[in-house]
Symmetry: C2
Subunit: 207 residues, 2 copies
DNA sequence: CCCTGTGAACCAATTCACAGCT
DNA sequence: AGCTGTGAATTGGTTCACAGGG
């Protein structure tokens, strides 16, 4: 085993997919799998899956493959998903609303535990039992609860400012739904979700 | 100029970001930009932007940089965004609902023009003027309207089957929000949006 | 002097292919 | 025989650095 000092980010980015596939196998009560099977499920080569996993340890058995529960355990450990992460959501528009109501976070390591908006009509209302709070209280609330992850679903014009406020309050990971690239200190992790970017990528290949 | 026969997908994937940055500059009435300025906005090296753009032609002027309107025009042409693309949305849950109500598609090349669901409670209702149709009519409606792009916001258990139905009806690009990898003919473009995958990527780096 | 476009150099990622264990 | 883990080979992507035009 050759545990590398620093794992390429592109490898880290594939681990959640591996975990997803494994959890689906587990739901079907599959006990053992192989790099070949995982690769077929995910459209990735078996060699790549083996190489990726080997960066973190020797998780498989020659001749047999990988134990599904064991590999899930290892990946949850590597990705720090052994306990749920609290998430602060900022911007309770249609999208923020839909995210709060989404039921799929809890069994995959996350819990949307705070929501903020600046609209007096929304502040104080309850969505799925979560009370929308005044965005003015956001820094204090995030700091006191030590929340490290935020989802940003505010209009583009406010995203950079709100992101900076989040970072000041102690957030170090932001999932940004606003259609712009944020400029933040490099210790802050940022991921982007923009359906139009994804669609425009595909239109290149159409017709 | 060395127009390559085949452009790497990773380059194509960056073009929408360039377009996004340029459109923001245009809103501020900026007439001219440089690879340096674009790179600063997007967190990408200037050399990479120049190399990417040079794959498609010589769009800049030495000493001056790039004309913002001209480069927008070229990118819209390359990405086939000169006319709006109709999109069929399948699965009108909270997320589908939020997508239909989202106002940002029209000025970036897309129009959600059909929505389907299998819930009798939802079929016939109107969201932002769009009538939710019975999913049983989906293949016929998509075929007749020649819709090529679909957004898939159904529960994971149905996603693979619905995706296959979409492809049979003529869809060749799918933006999949269901948390699994689809298995489809390779002429079909698929992009994935799964916030939990994005979050799990970031948690690796936390603490 | 400013900035593009681009070979060349460098660095990164993927695939190959096989030793070695079950 | 089946499958992992891994060096070596290969392929792909990014950065460098500079010629050349404005």
């Amino acid at each position: 085993m050759n545990r590398k000092l620093i794992i390429p980010d592109i490898v880290v980015g594939r681990l959640p997919r591996y975990l997803q596939a494994l959890q689906r196998l587990q739901k079907r009560a599959v006990q053992t799998t192989s790099s070949k099977e995982l690769g077929d499920i995910l459209g990735i080569s078996a060699a790549q899956i083996r190489k990726d996993l080997s960066q973190f340890g020797e998780f498989g058995k020659q001749g047999t493959g990988y134990s599904v529960p064991f590999l899930i355990d290892r990946l949850e450990d590597i990705l720090k998903l052994k306990h749920d992460w609290d998430i602060a959501l900022v911007g309770v528009g249609d999208l923020g609303h839909a995210i709060i109501r989404y039921q799929g976070f809890s069994n995959r390591g996350f819990c949307v535990s705070m929501a903020f908006d600046n609209d007096p009509e929304k502040i104080g209302t309850s969505i799925n039992g979560l009370i929308v709070e005044n965005i003015q209280n956001m820094p204090a609330r995030i700091q006191e609860a030590q929340v490290k992850i935020a989802m940003l679903t505010v209009p583009a014009a406010f995203a950079q400012q709100v992101a900076e406020d989040l970072v000041k309050a102690g957030v170090t990971a932001i999932l940004n739904y606003a259609p712009l690239v944020l400029s933040l200190p490099k210790h802050v992790q940022v991921e982007y979700i923009d359906p139009i970017i994804s669609l425009q990528h595909m239109t290149y290949y159409l017709e």
